[in-house]
Amino acid sequence: MREASSQIELVSRARGGDVEAFEALYRAHVGRIHAVCLRMTGNRATAEDLVQEAFVRAWRKLSSLRTESTFSSWLLRLTVNLVVSHLRSRLPRELEDAFDERAEPGGRFPNPAARVDLEEALRSLPAGARLVVVLHDLEGYRHEEIARLMGTAVGTSKAQLHRARRLLRGRLVV
């Protein structure tokens, strides 16, 4: 409760232009935001660029935040939108094509016997499949929301999720 009221105060001060308050918000949320960016992009350098961009945009748009208590979910949504937009501009075909076979010659990974951890398996997924499984299974987005973000059909989102899980299982099973 105290933590929540402290965050509300920090958000309120940051909206007034207090950079120190915004730094405290950054310190409190950077781990979460970085985790999302890293898992969605699969690339550390890109993830760090996007984390920076997300916080800069949050700073500039703080005045549009209606309720201080919703800062965490607002920041997360802003970040997800930013990352999806970035990926769509960089990898439009991969994100929209549900059946990109580059990562699965013969329908399986090159070395199905390799035991790798789940984070590494996630990173190895094709961009579209990774994006959908992270948003759906880790962040709790619904297919309708994912499809809207990606500018694709709901069926494409479902197909990407099915494919991502199949690839992950193939990657993890010895």
Binding site: F55, R90, L118
Partner: protein, 228 residues
């Protein structure tokens, strides 16, 4: 009857996306089919594993100073700051200059890592502010990033670290220049700088890819038997 037809419904049931009537049929099938129950458990385990991944993974370096620098009131980025960033990026590339010894093949002879735009088709002499040139550089960077990711295991940790540090600084320079361009869209000098730094970014990735290819060839070469 093959269980394949039930697999999709198992997944839909776990996503709460299966109508009640089909859910009943699936439950009846699962009660009688150990293979599908194992499938259900495996899928449930995977989803649970994903949901149990740590919610937070802090970045390796502190990103706050770069954010703070951009969190003041909107202002024009002074040209000298942009020049300094580009110069710093250029200077850092010296770290990656090849050591004396046999040189790897030139970047023009390096095959593209994936179909499409590769190093061989880079617009090395594109004009300042050439949008098509920037798009081609971005596409080439994407290919080379994928090649670097594939081959990073073959490189020494030190080389990987140096490359990543260089790329991070170049990315920082690009963002700084892009900010300056946003404040002054008609500035051709800034657009030229953007092309230059993006070219350097591609050059770093091409260089490290060449090194890993050369190293791979070296390791593949048959060795002379001892004593000859």
């Amino acid at each position: 009857m093959s269980c394949e037809i039930w697999r999709e419904n198992i997944e839909r049931s776990l996503d709460a996306d299966l109508p009640v009537a089909e859910m009943r049929l699936l439950s009846a099938h699962l009660a009688a089919c150990p293979a599908c129950r194992r499938e259900q458990e495996a899928l449930r385990g995977l989803i649970a594993g994903l949901q149990e991944l740590p919610a937070e993974t802090p970045p390796e370096s502190d990103l706050w100073p770069a954010i703070e620098a951009r969190c003041s009131k909107p202002r024009r980025v002074p040209l000298w700051a942009t020049l300094l960033a580009a110069a710093a990026a250029a200077a850092l590339l010296l770290v990656l200059r090849p050591a004396p010894g046999p040189r790897p093949p030139s970047s023009r002879s390096l095959p593209a890592t994936t179909p499409g735009v590769g190093v061989a088709t880079l617009p090395l002499d594109s004009g300042y502010g050439d949008i098509a040139g920037i798009a081609a550089l971005d596409a080439a960077r994407l290919d080379l990033e994928a090649a670097f990711a594939e081959r990073r295991q073959t490189l020494s940790p030190r080389t990987t670290l140096v490359v990543e540090q260089n790329l991070a600084l170049l990315a920082q320079s690009i963002m700084t220049i892009q900010e300056a361009i946003a404040a002054d869209p008609g500035n051709h000098r800034l657009q030229g700088m953007l092309v230059q730094v993006k070219r350097r970014e591609v050059a770093v990735l091409a260089d490290v890819t060449q090194r890993s290819v050369a190293r791979g060839r070296e390791e593949m070469r048959p060795r002379e038997p001892a004593g000859l």
